[in-house]
Amino acid sequence: MTPLGPGPTVLGVRGITKRFGGLNVFEDISFDVDRGEVLGLIGPNGAGKTSTINVISGMLPPSAGRVVLDSQDITGKPLHVVSRLGVVRSFQQTNTFRGVTVEENLHRASRFGAGADNGLGVEELLEEFGLARHLHEASEKLPYGLQKMLGLVMVLYSRPHFLLLDEPAAGLERRERTQVDRFVDHASRHLGCGVLMVEHDMDLVKRLCPRILVLEAGRLLAEGPPEDVLSRQHVIDAYLGVVEEEQAC
């Protein structure tokens, strides 16, 4: 039994579609995330990755399709309700309560979530990430990397069964990215969370995700283990080609 206790075992996405007026952001996407699994979601910019997280987390209602927790339909439930049900997201940019201390940020996260640490292992992570030394500083004064890790650690206080991480490593220096490894490992192995991770850092994705989905122009292009999927020609054409061009610039 994990420290989070019993909860739903599968987060299911069933044929979700999101349209803004005539614009299809993504169409008919289905996949499952199991507890303890780390599922990568990759794709070029504008493929609809962040929108997928927005729809699953309840920030945006889908135009069609359903999101289920085991057999419970959570489609279109508001963000705070989905969060209470154990599906919690992180944000691409640093996202903390600005102007208050790191300690107050953590206090609020635990108050809004399910309360005390109770085996979550938050203290341990704070120590490892170097946040414990900054408890009495204003959160927005921290270096970017620490702000981002603070945002991730705060999410744990919601006692999530499923985590939706939107580019957790974006903007971090290479040596800081191992902290993302540590965080995801802690969440999936120690706490038994299912993790859906949108990420551009292919090395990180290969290290952390036994299975990945490739999203391109709003459609699921491929699914499978990273080394297999990333060697398929159409995936390389659609995605990695673009990345190499970007890097060449």
């Binding site: 508001p78 705070h80 309700v81 944000f91 996202n95 208050v100 609020r108 809004f112 979530g113 204003a138």
Partner: protein, 329 residues
């Protein structure tokens, strides 16, 4: 300046304690000027608390005069029927606006920023129209006059000093209500003010806390309406004009919107100034405007906020030990 939970709580409580000397005014002096000043300050503090509570959620509510009118008229109608018991009047003047705030809140609490300001502003105008258009109920443009003084335990609270005591007592009840709500839900309110998306993603139901704030603001404003009606023995639409909200907003921003002490400081200062320069009353709106701009530029967190900043720089334990260490070296 990093907000400090315990310090802000103390400053909020000090506002409540500082109302006690106002209560004493009614017993130690019969001087009409002091009585009148005290009554004005108490009503202003009470009404401004309605603004303050919503500011804790990051919303500037212009609906305070409307809720004052609803509370004031509710109390006036009740007193006219012969039940002028102060506790009953207070209950009516708080509960009726609070009930009205529920459906209004459902409509307006989705809005933010300038849109919220706009709609709450319009609400005042609509209510003014309703008051004029329902003379059977509200007395129309004549208002409701000759309201009997409040009573308690068989005592008629009719004399000037009794009215002062009643006004301050109502203000204290409103202050306690504001204190309890803003302190109890402080974490949620501040989180919504600072970053509502993050708060919601961590499980905070925004609508719930916005509604709690709005209802509290309406109840507090309603109490201010009762205090005003009781002081004038009249409920009249002109007492609750839309523009009166400008003064309350000036009080809280100039005093300091971060703590309840700011509400008290701003109200006392500006009302004393207005009275002192009453010969130039026609300029008072302009002077409030100039003062507001000046404070926003020099000390955006108001007078109390500026003092907290100075204290943080010079007098806080951390700054002091750092200074000592430097001295030793």
């Amino acid at each position: 300046m990093i907000p400090n939970r315990r310090r802000d709580f103390r400053l909020d409580c000090s506002a409540l304690l500082l109302l006690l000397p106002l209560l004493a005014v009614s017993f130690v002096t019969a001087e009409p000027l002091f009585q009148s000043l005290t009554q004005q300050v108490a009503i202003a503090v009470c009404a401004t608390m309605g603004i303050y509570v919503m500011l804790r959620l990051g919303l500037l509510s212009f609906a305070v005069p409307a809720f004052m009118a609803i509370g004031g008229y509710a109390a006036a109608m009740l007193a006219k029927t012969g039940s002028a018991n102060l506790l009953l009047l207070m209950a009516a003047s708080a509960v009726v606006p609070a009930l009205v705030a529920v459906p209004i809140g459902l409509l307006v609490l989705r809005l933010k920023g300038i849109y919220f300001v706009f709609v709450t502003f319009i609400f005042n105008e609509i209510l003014q129209l309703l008051i004029f258009e329902a003379p059977g109920l509200t007395g129309g443009s004549n208002g409701i006059a000759g309201i009997p003084a409040a009573t308690i335990w068989g005592l008629d609270l009719e004399s000037a000093s009794a009215v002062t005591a009643v006004t301050v007592a109502i203000c204290m009840v409103a202050t306690v209500l504001s204190l309890v709500v803003t302190q109890r839900f402080r974490a949620e309110f501040s989180a919504i003010e600072e970053n509502e998306t993050l708060a919601e993603s961590l499980g905070v139901a925004l609508w719930k806390y916005r509604t709690i704030g709005f209802i509290t603001s309406a109840a507090v404003a309603g109490l201010a309406g009762l205090a005003l009606v009781n002081m004038l023995s009249t409920a009249h639409p002109s007492s609750f004009s839309t523009w009166s909200v400008n003064s309350y907003i000036a009080y809280v921003f100039i005093g300091g919107r971060g703590t309840m002490l700011g509400v008290l400081v701003g109200s006392v200062l500006l009302i004393v100034l207005t009275t002192a320069f009453s010969g130039y009353a026609q300029y008072s709106a302009g002077m409030f405007g100039v003062l507001l701009i000046f404070v926003m530029m020099v000390a955006p967190s108001g007078i109390v906020g500026a003092f907290i900043r100075l204290w943080d720089r010079d007098g806080s334990p951390r700054a002091r030990t750092a200074g000592q260490r430097m001295g030793e070296a």
